[in-house]
Amino acid sequence: MSQSLDSSKDTPVIKCESVFKIFGNNALKLLKSSNGQVDAKTFQEAGCIVGVNNASFGVQKGEMMVVMGLSGSGKSTLLRCISKLTDATSGKIFIDGEDLLSMSNKQLIELRRNKMGMVFQSFALLPHKTVIENIAFPLQIKGTSTLDSMEKALEMVELVGLKGRENYFPRELSGGQQQRVGIARSLAVEPDIWFLDEPFSALDPLIRKEMQDEFLRLQGVLNKTIMFVTHDFDEALRLADRIAIMKDGIIEQLDTPDNIVLNPATEYVKKFTEDVPREKILKIESIMDAYDSNNSSSTQVSKDAIIETLAESILNSKEILTVVDKNNEIVGSLNPAKVIKVIFGK
């Protein structure tokens, strides 16, 4: 993650303050009597299911936050609370500093028409509309003229690489292509905030990889504020600036991928990180030491490089290397022994 995101001066684009979502008839009553101490088991006995349990976090502008959890962990529920597809039982959610939960229906519709886009697991394309009609749909709902919306949609078709298939129906496309349409549709109104609900889970592994690359390319161009939900830990590591790991509605850990792999906060998180090939995730930055001018050789490596990509040359050099940042300024030094430890040892 880049450093500008750390500065807490900017108001976050998305901000949640102790958000609860509890399904069941007397959820609110139970929640009030529990004083914020929600235990999934006791609630279940009372006939309620805990979806989201006391979630508080913020997402900065341009940041990609990935919510990771297994099925039933409440990750999709959390996303739906923030997009207000379901109403949170209690807590506060702010979008660009505006209180989401106190918005009128009209304001909400305006917000969705201009600021939000969402991609769905099962694509959720309208079966009666062609590719181009599907993509133009949010624009037409907004009231954009047919010609303008079609032009914009055509632009989007090109962006996601579906040129030549504008007049196909969703049923005539492969899963990957359908999700490209879903992505294009969610981007058509040029939203600031982009929600993705397990967008690649329904795809084959190879296609999934391809779509992830495509997604990273798009994000490189567009720089949106993103909430991305997935059950795939590897996917989370590949894409995220920060990852929130959820279990039973509780956010177990919310941190950068490096920190999660290196310092799992709970046993649950640790289980995910155990099998992760660290050299493929960690950057040089995360294992470098403070710069020691006496010991270091003149060979330089970038702090943002993934360890695996440089491992061979580092191990061959057998001396302590100098680590530099983007501007070629020296930020630390790297002992090859640490690289060996990352790859082979615990």
């Binding site: 739906r80 997009s83 597809l85 229906n105 519709i109 305006e110 917000l111 969705r112 028409r113 201009n114 939000m116 886009g117 969402m118 769905f120 697991q121 099962s122 694509f123 959720a124 394309l125 309208l126 079966p127 009666h128 509309k129 062609t130 181009i132 009609e133 749909f137 949010p138 709902i141 907004k142 047919t146 079609m150 879903g182 549709r185 969610s186 109104v189 929600f195």
Partner: protein
């Protein structure tokens, strides 16, 4: 053995049947015994209904209305004013459309009033039939292509040259008025039901009764409320054809994946946009099937509406059947099927049509088809005008071929019928006599000899075994309602006919279905046949059976069996074909023979679905049996039919209709409860 009794339905049913038989033989036939027959405590219901209608129509809430003829105010009941204005409105629409096709002076007359009476030009000229055929060709071509264009135009060409143009246009005008009304009503109620749970739970039983009640039973009440004529036919049609539309709308909307709804919300739809641009279009497939059903039901009903004065093919068919003119009746029947097929295909093509956003057409190009149509119509109109001088005898064949003045194949058909009669009469007669004496009468007597207490034990016991106390009470209450009326014996006769028809249809349907489900080609073939036979209005089935068996119970039975085998076959094929291929592979690897595969893999899995088909079969069979009263049976249908010509028939007709509906609902409850449970157990949706 007995330890298992709680879990073994078979043992429970055997015990139930044993008790039933015991009661059957032990209870003596005694008219005063409540065990034999219940007293008719509810016999006043028809009277109550009549009084209610009478009160509504003539007494309740009168308002003064200015009567221009008498130059004074007159008190008229408001309900009657409402129904009469609905009737007038419908009648105006029907006549308006009718006069477009056939010409006439009522439409213009009704707008201009009396001032223009007597002028010869106050006459809306008809579009020449040639122009209608050409118009259909253009429409079909525009909507889909040459194939549809040919089907539509040739179909109507046939209708015209066979001299059925006038009745066909009369029927068509009725369909063109009622179908859109049914569509709008059905869609609106369907949407309401989808949005509001309470509305849905209220609608559900009403729909159930409306769909299982025989058509004839509400003809008389409509007659009372709306008077006799085309408008009454239209009302009956609307009542009959709207329920499936509501059903399919709710079904379609419920099937939409929640993510599609969410995607609509996230696109910033407000409620109306969500409804009209996301929900309804996404449910389009089911709604289209609904439209299709509406058109078919409207056509089927227009024939029955002939009994309350609707003009058209149905009326002529009725006349032909009454006069036993089989050839003529068959000819008319073909016309009904032809317009059914054409309307069906056109409406589907219209709904599937795609829009081209990049064409950027000018006015001329956009409306080219319409412009062609106008030009050709004018040309054909001129030709028709000129040809009037050419044709003598007053018939202008290029303008409108009058009824009965076209080609006809009726003599050939009649000759064929005569030949069949002469050749096979002996054998048919033997079969007929055998069936009646040794099967039907025996069965009828057995049913009539059933003490009421044993009937209840059997029915409620079955309900208890299948669905517990709840089913037991529901089924018992439905049957009790009938048992407390004067018509229990008639209901038993209806039940015996239904049992026989359903039994034979089920065996026939399951056998044919199982054989045809063997491979893809025969599956496609048999489903096509089912589609084809389902487009026929039920009326049509009576034509060939009267031809073969004359006016007997056998005819009705065979018509019912032919009609009711269709759903049994269809559901069997569908059920068998839906067995997952992985199971087939597993079975093949275990080395099953074809019969083993059918018996131990396909049939158990498909059986719940097949049972739902049997449910449909029962409804179809009952419809046909009641309809069969036209050719004379002794069941409930006969009385319902008789009500049509009785002054106080409304109450009895409606009550008996409800009885038939209750028989259906009782069976429906048992079968559905069982099938749902079974499906859940098997883990199939």
């Amino acid at each position: 053995m007995l330890i298992n009794f709680k879990n073994s339905r078979l043992q429970q049913f055997i015990l139930l049947f044993f008790v039933f038989l015991l009661l059957y033989f032990l209870v003596p036939e005694d008219e005063n015994s409540f065990l034999w027959r219940l007293p008719p405590l509810l016999k006043d219901i028809p009277l109550l209904i009549n009084n209610l209608l009478d009160n509504l129509m003539f007494k309740w809430l009168t308002v003064p209305v200015w009567d221009p003829d008498w130059q004074m105010y007159e008190d008229k009941p408001i309900f009657r004013l409402i129904t009469r204005s609905i009737a007038d409105f419908l009648l105006f629409l029907i006549i308006f459309i009718r006069e477009i096709f056939l010409g006439g002076l009522q439409t213009i007359g009704s707008i201009t009033g009396d001032s223009l009476k007597g002028f010869k030009w106050v006459y809306l000229p008809a579009i020449p039939w040639t122009a209608v055929v050409v118009g259909l060709f253009i429409l079909g071509y525009r909507l889909q292509g040459l194939g549809l264009a040919l089907i539509a135009s040739i179909g109507f060409f046939y209708v015209s040259i066979f001299g059925q143009w006038e009745p066909t246009m009369e029927t068509l005008s009725l369909v063109l008025v009622t179908a859109p009304i049914c569509f709008v009503l059905g869609l609106s109620f369907g949407i309401l039901g989808y949005l509001n749970k309470k509305v849905e739970t209220t609608l559900q039983p009403i729909l159930n009764i409306a769909q299982t009640m025989p058509h004839f039973s509400y003809l008389v009440p409509i007659l009372v409320l709306f008077g006799i004529g085309d408008h009454a036919g239209a009302v009956a049609t609307i009542i009959f054809a709207t329920p499936p539309m509501i059903r399919l709308t709710i079904l379609g909307l419920k099937k939409i994946s929640p993510e599609v709804v969410e995607s609509g919300l996230m696109s910033g739809c407000n409620r109306f946009q969500l409804l009209f641009r996301v929900l309804i279009p996404t449910a389009r497939r089911d709604i289209l099937i609904g439209v299709n059903q509406v058109i078919m039901q409207c056509l089927a009903m227009t024939t029955i509406a002939a009994f309350i004065g609707a003009k058209g093919l149905g009326f002529n068919l009725k006349v032909a059947l009454n006069g036993l003119k089989i050839g003529k009746a068959a000819e008319i029947g073909i016309c009904v099927v032809v317009i059914a097929v054409v309307l069906d295909k056109l409406s589907l093509a219209w709904a599937n049509k795609q829009k081209d956003y990049f064409a950027n057409l000018n006015f001329y190009k956009k409306n080219i088809a319409f412009i062609y149509f106008i030009i050709l119509s004018i040309i054909l109109g001129v030709i028709a005008y000129i040809s009037a001088f050419y044709f003598e005898k007053g018939f202008n064949y290029l303008y409108l071929i009058p009824f009965g003045e076209g080609l006809t194949i009726a003599p050939i058909l009649d000759a064929g019928v005569d030949w069949i009669w002469e050749t096979f009469f002996y054998y048919l007669n033997i079969f007929n006599k055998f069936l009646i004496t040794y099967v039907l009468f025996v069965m009828r007597d057995a049913y009539l000899g059933m003490p009421v207490v044993s009937t209840f034990v059997l029915v409620m016991g079955a309900g208890f075994i299948i669905g517990g106390v709840r089913s037991c009470i529901i089924v018992g209450a439905l049957i009790l309602f009938i048992a407390l009326s004067e018509y229990w014996n008639r209901a038993l006769i209806t039940a015996y006919m239904a049992t026989f028809a359903v039994g034979v249809s089920a065996i026939l349907g399951i056998t044919v279905g199982s054989i045809c489900a063997r491979n893809d080609i025969s599956t496609k073939f048999i489903l096509g046949i089912c589609d084809f036979f389902q487009t026929f209005p039920s009326f049509i089935y009576l034509i060939p059976v009267i031809l073969l068996f004359g006016i007997t119970d056998t005819s009705v039975m065979i018509a019912a069996i032919a009609y009711a085998s269709v759903p049994a076959t269809r559901y069997t094929v569908e059920g068998l074909r839906s067995v997952p291929s992985s199971l087939h592979d597993a079975a093949s690897m275990s080395g099953v023979s074809n019969f083993q595969r059918w018996k131990s893999i396909e049939l158990p899995l498909a059986f719940p679905h097949i049972m739902l088909g049997i449910n449909q079969t029962l409804i179809f069979a009952l419809m046909m049996i009641v309809l069969g009263a036209l050719i004379g049976t002794e069941d409930l249908g006969q009385i319902i039919m008789g009500c049509l010509s009785r002054p106080n028939g409304a109450g009895i007709g409606l009550t008996l209709g409800i009885f038939v509906s209750f028989i259906c609902l009782a069976a429906d409850n048992l079968i559905r409860t069982w099938a749902d449970e079974r499906k859940k157990l098997l883990g199939i949706d």
